[in-house]
């Protein structure tokens, strides 16, 4: 009943290719986080602003990002924009989709984080003659980052795992893309995907552990 014979050798020979794929995966995840953090901060500020238009726009983004599948968001970036005449390659589409998703989730995280920094901090900064943007950047933001640091780490891991969706828009050089190609060529499905899973696990673990180390260094107060 269980007649599958494992062939690990072929799989192990493909390790360098998969490693190269893992690097692409990490690249997309890191870029999507950088974009996501920047957009997320602006979304958090927009959703707390006095302008109805800004609040509305932020709400649409956040609601869509959080309440629809990431798969559809990536699909929309590739095929949706494509049908509007905006053609981007699969790498960019995946990156845009994940960044959009990250920004939505992070905006909520940041909004909570901002609430965790007492208003009196900004007030004290303003009383020293700082402008509102200075007070935010130098006083509020660093304190907020401490509060949201671990949720941020979670989102980073989540971003890495989401990159595996790139295969639906034809991405073939990230970890899942490479693995899928090898699978099609050799039909060693179980071996290749096990190794791929191992790679994802290790990447996620490295992120969590290095974040912990970084947090230790950054937030000594």
């Amino acid at each position: 009943m269980f007649s599958y014979t494992f062939h690990w050798r072929a799989a192990f020979q493909a390790l360098p290719q998969m490693l190269a794929g893992a690097v692409v995966t990490l690249e997309i995840a890191v870029l999507s986080m950088i974009i996501g953090i920047v957009c997320g901060i602006f979304l958090a500020l927009a959703s707390g602003s006095h302008s109805k238009i800004l609040r509305g726009a932020a709400a649409v983004w956040i609601e869509t990002a959080r309440n629809t599948p990431a798969l559809l968001q990536i699909y929309m970036a590739y095929f949706g924009l494509g049908s509007l005449g905006i053609h981007i390659n699969s790498f960019a589409a995946l990156l845009a989709g994940i960044a959009f998703n990250n920004a939505g989730y992070l905006a909520e995280t940041f909004r909570g984080g901002l609430r965790g920094v007492p208003e009196t901090q900004a007030r004290a900064a303003r009383s020293l003659g700082m402008t509102a943007p200075q007070a935010f950047r130098i006083i509020v933001l660093p304190q907020m980052m401490r509060i949201v640091f671990y949720p941020l780490t979670n989102q980073m891991v989540w971003a890495v795992l989401m990159t595996s969706l790139g295969v639906i828009v034809g991405l073939d050089n990230d970890l899942t893309g490479v693995t899928q190609n090898l699978n099609v060529l050799t039909f060693r499905t179980f071996e290749f995907f096990t190794i791929a899973a191992g790679f994802y696990y290790v990447i996620a673990k490295i992120i969590t552990l290095s974040a912990r180390a970084l947090g230790w260094r950054l937030f000594r107060y």
């Binding site: 007492p118 009196t120 901090q121 007030r123 004290a124 900064a125 303003r126 009383s127 020293l128 003659g129 700082m130 402008t131 200075q134 130098i138 006083i139 660093p142 304190q143 401490r146 937030f219 000594r220 107060y221």
Partner: protein
């Protein structure tokens, strides 16, 4: 000179200041006493534009604080304020807390800002704590750091908002000593305080706030030593 002319301030339907007028000359120390919610702290926040007013005006060296074209950030450089909750910046060391505004607001070099900061921190007795984070300091030390932080901007005026109210009783003295030092150096100060004895000792004038107005004002001997208004007498009786 600070000129407060008939200012009115409401939070929603609650009128906190109901026409307050007060002039503070250069070098003068004015203490403001009165019950909680009488509008003392709110007045301070209005002086440096942290709170808006609905009526009246406030002139600082002739500049209308609440005029539309007034550069508040620039104005605030010459008005130092210290809060009841000292508001230390927890992610910065004591030295960084004090250096920050001179560098970012006045554009001083790192060396200059550090030299001034060390000097001010020495003045308030914190020379040993430069590299420490505020969370490692006592309340009194944090409050003295906040005073040094305001002084590092070399302000012409200092506003103190119940700076000892959140402190343990045994820490009040060290902060009051710092204020004494400042007044002896001729700093112009408005001191909102519950420390009546202190107000009597350092002030040129004392203002008694009651229900959003200055109810009685004059020399400490007059307002604290020999008050005329029944509300002032009742207040002093309740706190002394």
């Amino acid at each position: 000179m600070i000129e407060i002319q008939d200012i009115h301030k409401s939070f929603g339907s609650l009128e906190v200041l109901k026409g307050v007028s007060l002039n503070v000359e250069k070098g003068e120390v004015v203490s403001v006493i009165g019950g909680s919610g009488s509008g003392k702290s709110t007045m301070l926040m209005c002086i440096n534009g942290l709170e808006k007013i609905q009526r009246g005006r406030i002139l600082v060296d002739g500049t209308d604080v609440h005029a539309r074209n007034t550069d508040l950030n620039k104005l605030r450089r010459k008005i130092g304020i210290v809060f009841q909750q000292w508001n230390a910046f927890p992610h910065l060391t004591v030295l960084e807390n004090v250096m920050l505004a001179p560098r970012k607001v006045l554009g001083r070099s790192r060396q200059d800002a550090e030299a001034v900061a060390v000097q001010r921190l020495t003045d308030v007795g914190l020379a040993e704590k430069l590299k420490v984070y505020p969370s490692k300091l006592s309340g009194g030390q944090q409050q003295r750091m906040a005073i040094a932080r305001a002084l590092a901007m070399e302000p012409d005026y200092m506003l103190f908002d119940e700076v000892t109210s959140a402190l343990d009783p045994q820490l009040v003295g060290e902060v009051l000593d710092t204020l004494r030092m400042l007044s002896s150096k001729g700093m112009t100060m408005i001191v909102v305080t519950h420390e009546i004895a202190f107000a009597r000792e350092v002030s040129d004038r004392v203002a008694f706030f009651h229900q959003g107005r200055i109810h009685e004002i004059g020399s400490p001997e007059h307002v604290i030593g020999n008050p005329q208004q029944p509300e002032t007498i009742a207040f002093l009786k309740s706190v002394l």
